[in-house]
Symmetry: C2
Subunit: 330 residues, 2 copies
DNA sequence: CTGAAAGCGCTTACAG
DNA sequence: CTGAAAGCGCTTACAG
């Protein structure tokens, strides 16, 4: 910058203003500075600016992992919004491990990140207390009902209701549920929503028709095996997510049962495998990229407008009917 | 830091040393400073340190995308190594788009990142010229043979050879190849390796048995359809990656052909879907996390030891035989 | 509209 | 072993 100023024959103060606040400076000086900057190939040093402005234009994103088909789209949405807003993103993969969560909360402090997006609901209030006071945060998807932190979520209870309605409309009455991982906020919302919706239709759910899963292929497969061993197996199964639904379909196929002729199966998420499975999976799609973008925009808004009031955005979802659901066998 | 120094009754210089270079300071002063730091909850401001040391302890990672089952593991490996080495990672999703590549190369400059990992081979030398002079770079996987940039890769020609050997050992002679996206460095290496290996076994490859794909499910499926329409269809197919192999299997199933009874299929990568497909896919596994970790370690080594000499690490791979390959029909 | 000066929070020669 | 001072590269009141 000093070089630029010298070349343009102005002070560094003016050079700085010409580049960062063009309207504070006369048109011809501005042009001179810009030309000078161009000719020396000036690139602003954002770390110096960060130190001076006490603002790093960096946000931290804490996500359990990216090795599935769900988070990457969310992160892409965040990334786009961050780039558009002039922020860089430090990605923290927590693996839901205390140790790594701590490590990243630490980075948040020492790198003076301006805000944080949390996709890992297990980061408790305990850790939050350790954080630099007042850093804007928005919680994504895994959010407790009574949370005061701004959030962007989907309505997981309603998702379950949509699935149940879809199956009931086909005439199913004996509907089972393969739930998410134990302790999962999202999973418990979906399970509760499932039970509520069934009750709403005047249908009873036998306790052994509502099994825990692990959001994974293997868990879905194992749970489905149990369901099929049942003396009165269900005619339809609502799985907490697509991966476990895919595993459940596999269990059916393995026993020579046809989906959807013998049994209907539904998932949630609409990951890319859902469209490619055999048969293609009926599911409830969440607009993942929009979720990520919305969250990032909310965070940046909070950082820049200092409007710290709690706001909970709920993103709408939609049912994607494919070939894994049909009326039950007569 | 000033507060800490005051509380400990020393100068900020000493406080800084006590915290960052403990051996430069007397034991009791060191203890006093540490206690003071503890009691005020001191957290170093890394942006100030970065400005002073002209070193940001940040690296940029440029990756085409993370919405597949391949890159996430690599990134996890990088992430671990970065955290261990005290570096933060800024993830840049290029989508192989010039515009975004430019945007991130810009961030590299202005954020004063200490180095960069490039997983996107399409970032040409042209762009590289725009970069701050001398920033350490290591190129991962998508690397031209004659590149002077340090790199970590696998031997893609050898991967193809391993696949061909595996199929030939079963007795296959009419082996086809579904290649990667046109213009892909990795894909062309695998195709060349395939042709070389076939020639080495004295086998001829008909031109229409070596088809382009797109590394995707749909491309694999489409290419397989063409292969099956052929008057002399192959008895085995080596696909450039698992996704296209999964698509190819689907095409077979759709025509009522059995894998591996009617036709053998192989992929490369060992993504998680490969183990869960029906039948489970024989493939060649790349130690993705190790690739990522190695690349990050090389980069950090380069940054810190200033050893800028070119080094090309080649990570070994291994064949995973599952149920999609078998001897051809008599 | 422009410049001189202070300061963001560290680290590190240089003296002592 | 410790301290005073300079400086990393910016931005921004404050004067003019």
């Amino acid at each position: 910058l000093a070089d630029v100023a010298k070349l343009a024959g102005v002070s560094v103060a003016t050079a700085s203003r010409a580049l960062s606040n063009p309207d504070l400076v006369a048109e011809n000086t501005r042009d001179a500075v810009c030309r000078a900057a161009e000719s020396v190939g000036y690139r602003i040093n954002l770390v110096a600016r960060s130190l001076r402005k006490q603002r790093s234009n960096t946000v931290m994103v804490l996500v359990p992992g990216i090795d599935n088909q769900f988070y990457p789209d969310i992160i892409r949405g965040m990334e786009n919004a961050a780039l558009d807003g002039g922020y860089a993103m430090i990605l923290g993969l927590t693996g839901r491990a205390q140790k790594r969560e701590k490590a990243y909360l630490d980075l948040l402090d020492t790198r003076r990140a301006d805000g944080m997006l949390i996709l890992d609901g297990s980061i408790g209030k305990l850790n939050r207390k350790d954080m630099r006071f007042g850093v804007p945060v928005v919680q994504v998807l895994e959010t407790l009902d009574d949370s005061l932190t701004p959030s962007v979520t989907v309505d997981d209870r309603n998702i379950a209701r949509m699935a149940v309605d879809h199956l009931v409309k086909f005439g199913h009455r004996r509907i089972a549920h393969i739930a998410g991982r134990d302790g999962s906020i999202v999973g418990s919302h979906r399970r509760i929503g499932f039970l509520d919706a069934m009750r709403g239709h005047g249908l009873v759910v036998r306790e052994d028709h509502c099994l825990p899963g692990d959001y994974g292929y293997d868990g879905g497969r194992a749970a489905m095996d149990k369901l099929l061993d049942h003396p009165e197996p269900p005619t339809a199964v609502f799985c907490a997510n697509d991966s476990s639904a895919l595993g459940a379909m596999r269990a059916c196929r393995h026993r020579g049962l046809s989906v959807p002729r013998d049994i209907s199966i539904m998932g949630v998420d609409d990951i890319s495998d859902a469209a490619n499975s055999d048969p293609p999976l009926s599911t409830i799609a969440q607009p993942r990229e929009a979720i990520g973008a919305t969250a990032m925009e909310m965070l940046i808004g909070q950082i820049e407008k200092r409007k710290l009031q709690t706001h909970h955005a709920v993103i709408p979802v939609n049912l994607v009917q494919r070939q894994s659901t049909a009326p039950p066998r007569a």
